[in-house]
């Protein structure tokens, strides 16, 4: 048995304190959410007292369940469609932007890159208010509603694929492209046949990340929603969390959680598959998938 002082001085001791902090942190960050998911299966009306397991709040209840309450399942549909549309616009826009900025020499691309990074760190509320003012005051060809929400989300998310693809371009380097061009094809041909395939993992990862981030968004989609028919799940939660407490709200949130979880698991599996040929010097772990900036 060693003395505590000896234990403290031992350079090879196991990091018990840090392990403790990490475990407590993980429990604290995940347990409340797990409890909320658990209560979405509650058989009673309460979100705090357990009355046994049921699927009542998903589809069992003929009035208030997510399946039967039109406003709730409309919110799910709106959230998922915003996710799909935004992702389809953001990813190509961001990928082309990143490739162009990476190759384009001169002053303008640096400013464009700075602009993109600013859009990444600006407090979301500021962007949302600015867009709300723009759409309500300036005569634009679209009104508040789904189009406005998509415009706002694309603006806020554009930096995600741009940053991920640029990071990937840096690790690829220029030698493959130069080799390709020595063998004949034009710059565009080399881009399409050599660089784009090598970018696939980054493009794939950013697709998943943008989708998962969009279905979680709140500030932009709320200000640009127009009326209740275009309010997605996050806004429904905000509106009713303090007002009408039934576990249907937890069920709604859990459905979204499941959607994000499925997207990320599929995404990560696909990412591993796409990068399977790569050597160990590239980190193919979940960290690189999530795009540590």
């Amino acid at each position: 048995m060693r003395s505590p002082i000896g234990w403290w001085r031992d350079p090879w001791r196991r990091p018990r304190i840090l392990v403790g902090i990490t475990v407590v942190y993980l429990l604290w960050s995940l347990l409340p959410v797990l409890i909320a998911v658990l209560f979405s299966f509650n058989n009673g009306r309460s979100r705090t007292a357990w009355r046994g397991f049921s699927m009542r709040w998903y589809w069992g209840d003929p009035v208030r369940s997510v399946w039967h309450d039109a406003s709730l399942h409309q919110a799910v549909v709106q959230t998922l469609s915003l996710g799909v549309i935004t992702t389809l616009i953001t990813v190509p826009l961001g990928v082309l932007f990143a490739i162009g900025i990476d190759r384009w020499r001169g002053r303008p691309p640096e400013s464009a890159n700075a602009l993109m990074l600013l859009s990444f760190v600006i407090p979301e509320t500021l962007l949302a208010v600015a867009l709300l003012f723009t759409i309500t005051v300036v005569a634009l060809p679209f009104e508040l509603g789904t189009t406005a929400q998509v415009v706002g989300l694309v603006t806020f998310q554009l930096s995600y694929p741009a940053v991920l693809v640029r990071a990937r371009l840096v690790t690829i380097g220029t030698q493959y492209e130069e080799a390709a061009q020595d063998l004949g094809p034009s710059p565009l041909g080399a881009l399409r046949r050599v660089i784009l395939p090598m970018l696939t993992p980054a493009i794939f990862a950013s697709t998943v990340l943008v989708f998962a981030d969009v279905i979680d968004d709140f500030v932009i989609v709320r200000y640009l929603s127009g009326d209740a028919s275009t309010e997605p799940v996050s806004v429904k939660i905000y509106n009713t969390a303090r007002a009408a407490p039934t576990p249907a709200l937890n069920a709604l949130a859990s459905i979204l959680l499941a959607a994000a979880f499925v997207a990320v698991v599929i995404g990560y599996a696909g990412y591993r598959l796409l990068t399977r040929g790569e050597s160990a010097q590239h980190d193919r772990g979940i960290g690189s998938f999530a795009g540590e900036v």
Binding site: P15, W104, L117, T125, T134, Q181, P187, S234, G287
Partner: protein, 306 residues
């Protein structure tokens, strides 16, 4: 000869090609990011329609009126300072929450990046998990737990007493802890990435040369990851500045309102859009320097990488 020159033929044309590729993205950012910020300026320094109380933007900077912005500024300090407390609270809450965030996030990130060994993948997945759980869902979870008949009060009563603490009505500490809960994941990940890049050999050298654990940490680890820490703090502070929903969900009381709440309350009120724009300008001015610092440090890191 032609073969050697081929990658460099017609460089100007190729530059044009790359510019064309990034043009849609640049146009989008100019249209929907830069231009709207100017619209905010035009509304703040614009006038009000006397009949409908709707804002009338003034596009020409030479014709700008300072009336609405002046109203906001003159109501911060002094006897008519109705906005002052909320602004001060914003500063205090954001600082306290960020300090708590870094105290929690740093040890966790340090452990996962440097000491977790074969469990690293699993722990990292759990660390990233809160990213995919919607912020609203995570706040909803706490609304449930902190309700008067919620699990927190039940746990405090140990099943013997009835505890009726009203956690969700205007308690600053609940709002701060809610923010810490909400934003810590955004700090853990960048810290992890930065600590992961620290060269192990430098640390071992410090220990070999006689530094004890504490001084090796203070004199080697901290200086080497200073920019990482600054970036991580910025990435959590900046979104916190505009956050009003955490306050609304966890307190819903003017006693804990912050600048985000001021924006949210005035943005759709008739005749007060200009004030909302004024608050937006205030937050923008305060956050512009940190934002530019972040952009500069990221651009520099990119330049080193290429």
């Amino acid at each position: 000869m032609a073969l050697i020159a081929s990658p460099f033929r017609r460089p100007r044309l190729r530059n044009g090609l790359w510019a064309a590729l990034s043009l849609p993205g640049i146009a989008w950012l100019c249209l929907f990011f830069l231009a709207p910020l100017y619209v905010v300026l035009a509304i703040v320094f614009g006038t009000l329609d006397p009949l409908f109380r709707t804002p009338v933007p003034v596009w020409n900077p030479l014709d700008w009126h300072g009336g609405q912005f002046k109203y906001v500024l003159t109501h911060i300090f002094g006897a008519s300072g109705i906005f002052g407390p909320a602004l001060l609270r914003t500063l205090v809450y954001v600082l306290v929450a960020s300090a708590l965030c870094i105290t929690i996030a740093f040890p966790v990130a340090y452990y996962v990046a440097r000491l977790a060994g074969h469990r690293r993948g699993l722990i990292l997945a759990l660390l990233i998990a809160p990213f995919w759980i919607s912020y609203m869902m995570r706040m909803l979870a706490w609304v449930n737990l902190l309700a008067v008949d919620g699990l927190v009060n039940k746990a405090l009563g140990l099943g013997l007493f009835h505890v009726h603490v009203q956690w969700l009505s205007g308690r600053g500490i609940v709002v701060i802890l809610g923010r810490v809960y909400g934003y810590v994941p955004y700090m853990v990940l960048p810290l992890y990435a930065g600590l992961d890049r620290l060269p192990q050999s430098t640390l071992e050298a410090a220990r070999d040369l006689g530094a004890n654990r504490a001084s090796a940490f203070v004199r080697v680890v901290l200086p080497m990851c200073r920019s990482t820490i600054v970036a991580a703090v910025l990435l959590t502070c900046l979104p916190m500045l505009g956050d009003y929903f955490t306050n609304d969900l966890l307190s819903a009381s003017p006693q804990t309102s912050m600048v985000g709440n001021l924006i949210n309350e005035t943005v759709n009120a008739p005749g007060e859009k200009g004030y909302a724009g004024g608050f937006v300008m205030l937050v923008l001015v305060v956050s512009l320097l940190p934002m530019l610092y972040y952009v500069r440090s990221v651009s520099r890191a990119e330049r080193i990488a290429t």
